[in-house]
Symmetry: C2
Subunit: 452 residues, 2 copies
């Protein structure tokens, strides 16, 4: 069974609860919302991503006969449940914040309205999908803000957490404004531009560095970027200068060199000088090697002559913040608002909407969180994207999503753009929501006391 | 194309280099080794995992006609490469540290000996597979050491980085000594025991908490664990006591309660008292809710009456250390040892072996890293597991791997077992290795100067 599409890629308790719901006829309409409880350290905003894959998951959520046979063989599930599984489909509605948009703590970016068993079964994988891409888009956005005008490329596949993480990190970072990725499959699946240079092993395999450069250039003359730090970076830069005329005779142009170790600021300056003195002022300098947004920012602040960055592990694992405190919570069932009141984890009940307000410069001025039925001033952020299990229209292209992300990043006030943000956006909780929470609490208390 | 098996889930530069290697006939035998350059903060040891999936990947590494057609359509690859792809197979040898074994910095846990294009193409996904499972097994081992005798369950799927990460975190943590996982697919794929309780949404969907408990108990009477923190934990514990006799009449036994928020030490004590006073001394207390090994350790040190822990995000993302500084480096090509000398990233050349020595109590006393040909005292750690592309025997069972992991954890000296390890294991570099590195450097220098 393919873990990417298997309905068994879920928590056991989901099937346990569905069995109980079916046994007791609790299949009325449930409303769940996905949101981040609080922003992690050093994040003034987050960026939504992964909706496309979340909708694909909902459209394809079904149990193969293999999966049903396996569940039956475990002997842990009743006929009442097993008989329902062949026809199990997601038939609900989805409201969502479009991908690429910026959001803040407590703001739902997805709302599911569906019969309880469907809404419940979707939980684990929906969180798994939305959490990861939003995590990476949010991290990548920091890099984009730290390096305006620089070429940023995702180099993170090898240390991403598995195959899907590597692929989806390429997508999420591209949404946030990266120029592309090294991951070939991301081009095949999503049309994302791919970039590639050479590895140290290639240089080492040849008798001399120059021989390695020349062999590579002859075989891969397009967008030729030579890796120059295998033995001695400055010496290698001189070899590049010496090689350039010979390659030029063959009609091969060196596009760039890559630095992958050492003091990148100092080396980029000396390499730039060597290249310029050798008549290679058009050859760009690309840097990689354990970079994160802080190092990229320091390089940019120092005006080091680096034109682009390959960013790997820190991007694809969101290394300083490898997880968001996100949840998928029941907000309404059978027409009544619901909330949990666990210590430190209480939630706002009901079907919600975010309204966003902008200042006279078009910058985000603050959001209001209220019930969807309680219209507020500002831009309503959540849109209906799926009705009765079917999408309302074709998905936006990645180019459209990228444009949306770029626009939202432009709308961030300075305090939120900083790598060490001084603030986050103000999110006001509307009176209607506060009143509803109190109402839910009263109802719970009444019923509990009546039950005693 | 399935990202889990597609040969396009790799970096573009791998195909670029392979094209260049084929063009220039550089298809001689290459030796690459995978190792961690240095231990991350707060890690005195690491645990190897993921070899089984790495070998599966190598056995199945091939280009489908879809993948080849797509590569041809990009127009970026020459006929010389495209024609080779249909018959492309991994035909090399693999030496590896068995899964579940403990290792340290600079120690190779995998060695690939294969024609250069095969060894090179494998790089990205091999790192992707071995890095993640070793990362998670190493994190899980800390939790196992922090909570001796406690039931530990992986709850990490929802915030794992994608589908594969969620599934493989279940496997890696089970290897390290977890009792099981909440992820159903991990049982279907690997036979790992699954555990499941109920969610807050289930409690909220019912008019009263007691009604929710009773409905759930009637539907899922086996291994019944009730979640008691949705509204008021102590009040819910009293409800469990009141419900127990009614359930007992139906032949249903409450196995446990789960706490998911609040002060777990204090709540576990008051809940234990309530349960004991209500005649439910056999009902266990299970805790979850953003736990990591430090919190688990504090709970255990406080002798809080908690019998087991569900651990999610901190486990499945290895949240304090979401990546290891691991690499896959060329050690030999065409019969000559190789190394890179990049600043801060120089490698030891040649085909290596680890020899491990134990003290009189059977604890790990120190390792020696040398050339495989330079036999040392101690236990040789790397084994030949694949010859000419075929496995030497059936893979070990997960039970065998778990036993190996448990044995290696027992062999750790106290300084390495601590959550804040005072030390790591001493790894001596044998003279033979130092001499070979100097030889390689001399050869590189001679050839470079001859080329001037």
């Amino acid at each position: 069974m393919d873990p990417l599409t298997s309905p068994l890629l879920t928590d056991l308790y989901q099937l346990n609860m569905i069995q109980a719901y079916l046994d007791h006829g609790e299949t009325k309409t449930a409303v769940f919302e996905f949101f981040v409880r609080k922003l992690p350290p050093r994040r003034g905003f987050l960026m939504a991503a992964g909706l496309e894959q979340a909708l694909e998951f909902l459209e394809n959520m079904r149990f193969s006969s293999d999966a049903i046979d396996w569940l039956a063989r475990t002997g842990q599930f009743d006929k009442g449940l097993l008989d329902r599984l062949p026809s199990f489909r997601f038939t609900g509605d989805v409201h969502a914040l479009p991908e690429g948009r910026v959001f803040f703590a407590n703001e739902p970016i997805l709302r599911i309205t569906a019969p309880m068993p469907e809404a419940q079964l979707a939980e684990t994988r929906l969180i798994n999908i939305l959490h990861f891409q939003s995590l990476i888009a949010s991290k990548a956005a920091r890099m984009v803000l730290a390096a305006p005008g620089k070429l940023l490329v995702d180099f993170g596949l090898r240390r991403a957490h598995g195959a899907e993480a590597g692929l989806m990190a390429a997508r999420a970072s591209y949404i946030a404004g990266f120029a592309g990725t090294a991951t070939i499959l991301a081009k095949e699946k999503f049309g994302i531009p791919v970039f590639g240079t050479m590895a140290h092993s290639f240089v080492e395999a040849y008798d001399t560095e120059s021989a390695a450069f020349e062999c590579f250039a002859r075989s891969r003359p397009d967008n030729l970027t030579l890796l120059i730090d295998t033995y001695d970076t400055e010496a290698a830069a001189h070899k590049v200068v010496a090689l350039a005329p010979r390659l030029a005779e063959l009609g091969i142009k060196i596009r760039g060199v890559r630095l992958d170790s050492g003091d990148l600021i100092a080396l980029s300056r000396s390499v730039r000088r060597i290249l310029d003195n050798g008549g290679l002022s058009e050859v760009t300098i690309f840097a990689s090697g354990g970079l994160d947004e802080d190092q990229v920012s320091a390089i940019v602040q120092a005006s080091a002559p680096i034109d682009g960055f390959g960013i790997g592990t820190s991007l694809s694992t969101s290394s300083d913040v490898p997880a968001l405190d996100c949840v998928y919570k029941l907000q309404e069932y059978a027409g009544l608002a619901r909330r949990k009141r666990s210590t430190g984890k209480a939630t706002w009940p009901g079907r919600k909407q975010i309204w966003r307000r902008y200042d006279s410069n078009g910058l985000i001025d603050g959001d209001v969180l209220s019930l969807a039925s309680d219209t507020q001033a500002g831009e309503p952020m959540l849109e209906l994207v799926m009705k009765a299990g079917r999408r309302l229209g074709p998905p936006p292209t990645l180019a459209e999503i990228r444009a949306r992300a770029a626009q939202d990043l432009k709308r961030l006030p300075q305090a939120l753009r900083d790598l060490n943000p001084g603030a986050t956006c103000r999110v006001d909780i509307a009176d209607a929501l506060v009143r509803l929470a109190a109402e839910v609490d009263r109802r719970i208390a009444q019923r509990e006391s009546a039950a005693l």
